[in-house]
């Protein structure tokens, strides 16, 4: 008996002769397209933004390699834009950084409100490479562009009553959506003792990798105090106030047992909930071990003298 089975291959499935003739070229093209879609190595973001006229200051450089632009600009603690590390990069676009006014007030002979450009005009921008150590026990190496804080403050001639300097961040929930939720008492406030503020290591930063500071890194003006935990390095500064009394600071108000005024990097003094003996260096790779924390974040030679006689455990 003949059992007729329909042919397995339908005529419509037969490859057209033109395609068959060009098959090698078509395959090569498809492979090329696929290869272009997949990055061979992880594509890292390159520095972007206006280039600043800055010069490297060779006194402030490190043997360690600076962290990548991508790491520095996508891993941020900036609760004004959300409490996740990725939130500031995603949300900081709403901040208008020009025009920007900084108000100087308090115990000083010269006070007033200044446009950012006027505040910085007399000073030469420097490239400085600093270690940054977060209280959460991770660290980076950041190539800042800035000016020495002390040089700026001296122009306002603080009086003998000026024992401390207080800094305040912008308070505008319309521009800073994280401020709609009072995880911290807004505006963010920080402060330094006057001798800490006058120390040559402390800078006001306006740039990163030779370019204008991205919003998520504290644009347009931020403090960098590299021997202290990162939360002392206040961002988006609008007010500088000379005062006689130790000023209240945001993290100390939020959790006084965990965050102090001085916040000097100190492997001997643990955070109540985690150890400060070691730190994870960002960008080091998944299996690289943690590194030992350095006293004063490696700046002990320059700043330890500021604290001689001070009990650093009680004044954490």
């Amino acid at each position: 008996m003949l059992i007729r089975r329909p042919p397995d291959i339908r005529p419509s499935e037969i490859t057209p002769p033109q395609v068959y003739a060009e098959r090698r070229r078509l395959l090569a093209g498809a492979l090329g397209l696929a290869a272009a879609a997949l990055p061979v190595a992880r594509l890292r973001a390159e520095p972007t933004g206006t280039v600043l006229a800055s010069r490297p200051n060779p006194a402030y450089t490190l043997a360690e390699r600076a962290n990548s632009w991508e790491d520095i600009t996508t891993y941020n603690n900036y609760y004004e834009f959300g409490t996740d590390k990725s939130s500031p990069a995603a949300n900081a676009g709403s901040l208008r950084t020009r025009p920007w006014t900084v108000t100087v007030s308090g115990a000083a002979e010269v006070t007033g409100s200044y446009a950012l450009e006027d505040l910085l005009k007399p000073h030469a921008l420097e490239d400085r490479i600093y270690r940054l150590r977060c209280v959460e026990a991770w660290s980076m190496v950041v190539p800042w562009v800035g000016v020495p804080l002390g040089e700026v403050l001296k122009r306002f001639r603080p009086t003998a009553q000026a024992k401390f300097v207080q800094f305040t961040t912008l308070n505008d929930p319309r521009q800073m959506p994280g401020q709609r939720y009072s995880v911290l008492d807004w505006p963010y406030a920080e402060g330094l003792r006057i001798d800490e503020a006058m120390h040559p290591l402390a800078i006001l930063a306006v740039g990163l990798y030779g370019r204008v500071l991205p919003n998520q890194n504290g644009a347009p003006l931020r403090l960098v105090v590299p021997w202290k935990y990162g939360f002392k390095s206040i961002k988006a500064i609008v007010r500088v106030h000379f005062t006689e009394r130790m000023p209240p600071t945001s993290w100390n108000l939020a959790a006084p047992r965990e965050y102090g005024f001085y916040a000097n990097v100190n492997p001997e003094v643990d955070h109540p909930r985690w150890s400060q003996k070691t730190e994870r260096h960002i960008g080091a790779g998944l299996f690289e071990p943690r590194r030992p924390t350095l006293p004063f974040n490696g700046y002990a030679a320059q700043v330890a003298g500021l604290y001689s006689g001070l009990d650093l455990r009680r004044n954490f």
């Binding site: 990055p39 992880r42 594509l43 962290n67 991508e70 790491d71 996508t74 891993y75 609760y79 409490t83 590390k85 990725s86 959460e136 991770w138 939720y181 995880v183 911290l184 939020a254 959790a255 909930r273 985690w274 150890s275 070691t278 994870r280 960002i282 960008g283 998944l286 299996f287 071990p289 943690r290």
Partner: protein
Amino acid sequence: MAGSTLGANPVDEITDTLGKWGLRLLLLTLAITPLRQLTDWPHWQRFRRMLGLFAFFYVALHFAMYLAVDQSFAWSVLWEDVSKRPWVTLGFAALVLLVPLAVTSTRGWMRRLGRRWQRLHYAVYVATALGCWHYYWQVKLDVRSPLLYVAAFALLMGWRLWRRAARRQVAPPAPGNPVRGPAAGLRPAAILPKLRLPRAADSQ
């Protein structure tokens, strides 16, 4: 490729994700019984053991990530963290509590332990509570996310408490009246709309 990387701190990212999923899976495991009771569909139960074991797997990996990759097997650090930092103590206790539950998850053990099996496995309530507390206490300042987990846990436990209270409330039937069974009128399935779910026979 943007969005598909682990970010600048992959160690923390992986550890946190494993912990969060461990806790979510525990909560999912605890949701099985209420789902079964709400919908009168018994087949949810089939997934409970698998979910529970997955939860244990993720919690164990979370701990392994911390010990092996973050701390590079620094046993002194583990000892210090578990003994000096209460939130780590709680997390470690939760892990330890889940171990016997994972071991006795098999049918063989259910047979061997009989009624005691159920009593042992009530420890999953404690382990989940400890997990939520561990997460809440670990967070730096923004407690919104851990509070969501606490709320979910409270909901799942509240359901159980409600059922228990409802069962106790019914008075014994008067002589001559038909016996309706404990809390028949208060049964959730009677109050809430019933979901039309396929029976085993339907799925041919």
